[in-house]
Symmetry: none
Amino acid sequence: MFAEKGFNAARISDVADAAGVADGTIYLYFKNKEDLLLSIFEEKMDLLLAGLREALDGVTEPLEQVRTFAHYHFRQVRDHRELAEVLQIELRLSNKFLKEYRPQKLWEYLSIFAEIVRVGQEQGVIRKDIDPFMAMWAFFGAMDEMAMQFILAKHRKFSLDAAAETVSSIFIRGLSIPEGRGQSLEEA
Amino acid sequence: MFAEKGFNAARISDVADAAGVADGTIYLYFKNKEDLLLSIFEEKMDLLLAGLREALDGVTEPLEQVRTFAHYHFRQVRDHRELAEVLQIELRLSNKFLKEYRPQKLWEYLSIFAEIVRVGQEQGVIRKDIDPFMAMWAFFGAMDEMAMQFILAKHRKFSLDAAAETVSSIFIRGLSIPEGRGQSLEEA
Amino acid sequence: MFAEKGFNAARISDVADAAGVADGTIYLYFKNKEDLLLSIFEEKMDLLLAGLREALDGVTEPLEQVRTFAHYHFRQVRDHRELAEVLQIELRLSNKFLKEYRPQKLWEYLSIFAEIVRVGQEQGVIRKDIDPFMAMWAFFGAMDEMAMQFILAKHRKFSLDAAAETVSSIFIRGLSIPEGRGQSLEEA
Amino acid sequence: MFAEKGFNAARISDVADAAGVADGTIYLYFKNKEDLLLSIFEEKMDLLLAGLREALDGVTEPLEQVRTFAHYHFRQVRDHRELAEVLQIELRLSNKFLKEYRPQKLWEYLSIFAEIVRVGQEQGVIRKDIDPFMAMWAFFGAMDEMAMQFILAKHRKFSLDAAAETVSSIFIRGLSIPEGRGQSLEEA
DNA sequence: AATGAATGAGTATTCATTCAT
DNA sequence: AATGAATGAATACTCATTCAT
């Protein structure tokens, strides 16, 4: 309906025009301008979450799920470039989003990763010395920063596939149980 | 001089008062309000960078340098909590910082990581199929997101030491050359 | 129906809710919001007027009627405190009421006083050098201001009986024919 | 400086234009738009108060002071018609003025009347059964309502001199000690 | 008669920035 | 170099009112 504008700098009247309604009508559906942005976020997160669950469907091996997650995430960024720009950039400029909001939907999305780690630990394929939630934030942070770089790089060389593969290969190996006796590097 | 306020919401006149000068005087030293924030960032980055170099001094093994980097980073967040809040939160609300700035100083700081990876690859202790810059952004993103969670968690349980150890152990193993023939998990 | 809210600040939708109807329905019965307030005023003035006529019924002596009028007026303020607040305060904030309206109903109410004066003059008990309409406005102004002070004084000491007695005693003597030769004070 | 506009309906930018300054400059001197109106009121009250004291200077007889007060008040209304319109009409439309403000300056002005009554009572020329403050409000209310009628009557017949004389003659006689034994009328 | 979703006009106020002194 | 009084652009939001159903 309005993601087309994608500006935090957009006037409410612009949005209203684009939607073909009067300014006041916006306020019948959204509490205020910020709520409008946050609503877009929530709506899209629902789709993102559903898509992720579908993508993971059929993938049983936890470490393989990590790879699937990463590829799915970056594919979404690539396929919904405009939306990704709004979510990566504009959303972060929102005081409320940054400080207060920390939304349920994002939590649900990321929790899937934490759950993957937990199950992997149960199955004995993921290190037990790693807190699933810490791993979750690290994984999200890594992907998010790379997505940000992609968005900021605008139209320059940047392969999201490569990004997905880099992140997943690092985390897959980083999280997996060392083979043989070889824990020599991180026994701390 | 003014980090004590730490608000994007702080009035220029507040800053001027705190500094014991007139409003106009601020503009003799800074181009505008945003420049003021960015200047704090740059100034602090110099210290951070110098500190990192010092911390890495004497550490020769690349993978050990990764661990040192992570511990140093989170130690700074812990020891300069107030400043970290400004840098994590307020700075991100700056349109310029997010979109245009991508500053030299941050680049210098992170480049050290890319260089560690490059050297590690030369020395044969780090996988060659990983782009150092990709790894750099992933590493920074992981640390940054965890730091953000720490800041947002306010006064609750959150061990920065554990965060440092988690990130570094994941990346150290994730970046290291697989031992034996054991690439079985991620040959994709 | 709505005096309970008593606010110029009340939303039309509040009034509609309180009345158990839809917003638009209000406009089937009242031209606009101001008309709503003015309608309350008119409706209440009818009652006030009828009550005054009843109170004066049986009182024949003009100067005694003045006292009756005053006591009646203040008794209404006391007995209908909430309504009086709306009429004293909210009504005065209405541009239309203050500037244009000067309503028929108030005029009828006050005219009774002018008529008392006129009759008193005919009967030779009230000074003929006083214009009945001037006296009317003075009398109303005196009562109205005291009522206003009472309303504003909220819950503090203020006897409306004393107010009634003060106003009436001043006006009764002030309007009456000087006894004996004693015009010495105001022959100007 | 701006009384010339006299509109509650005036835009801040109109006032600023008339004053030859920018909109923002208004806010360096006045807290907000209402404060602007209240400030005019306060400033003018100082003059009014000073003028009243001067007018009363040399008049020693309390009842004569009552007449002087009334004539002075209405003369001000007549001589400063424009200002009076602002003060009578616009000021009353101010929620703050009506409900909260009840200002020091008005109190000072009216207190002079209460003091006249008190002194008159001491000197035995004014009835002791009248509370000076009640009399004060009645007197002010009477004058104020007549002034309001004058303002509202716009350019029609209305003699402020006659108004002054009516009010003062009623109050002078109404407040004075009955001569002879003649309390026959209001022994209640 | 009643509804209630949609309308859209209307404006005080802030505060970063300037520049004459 | 420093001042700080003056500037003025810039806009989200409310809520009385309408009118198609």
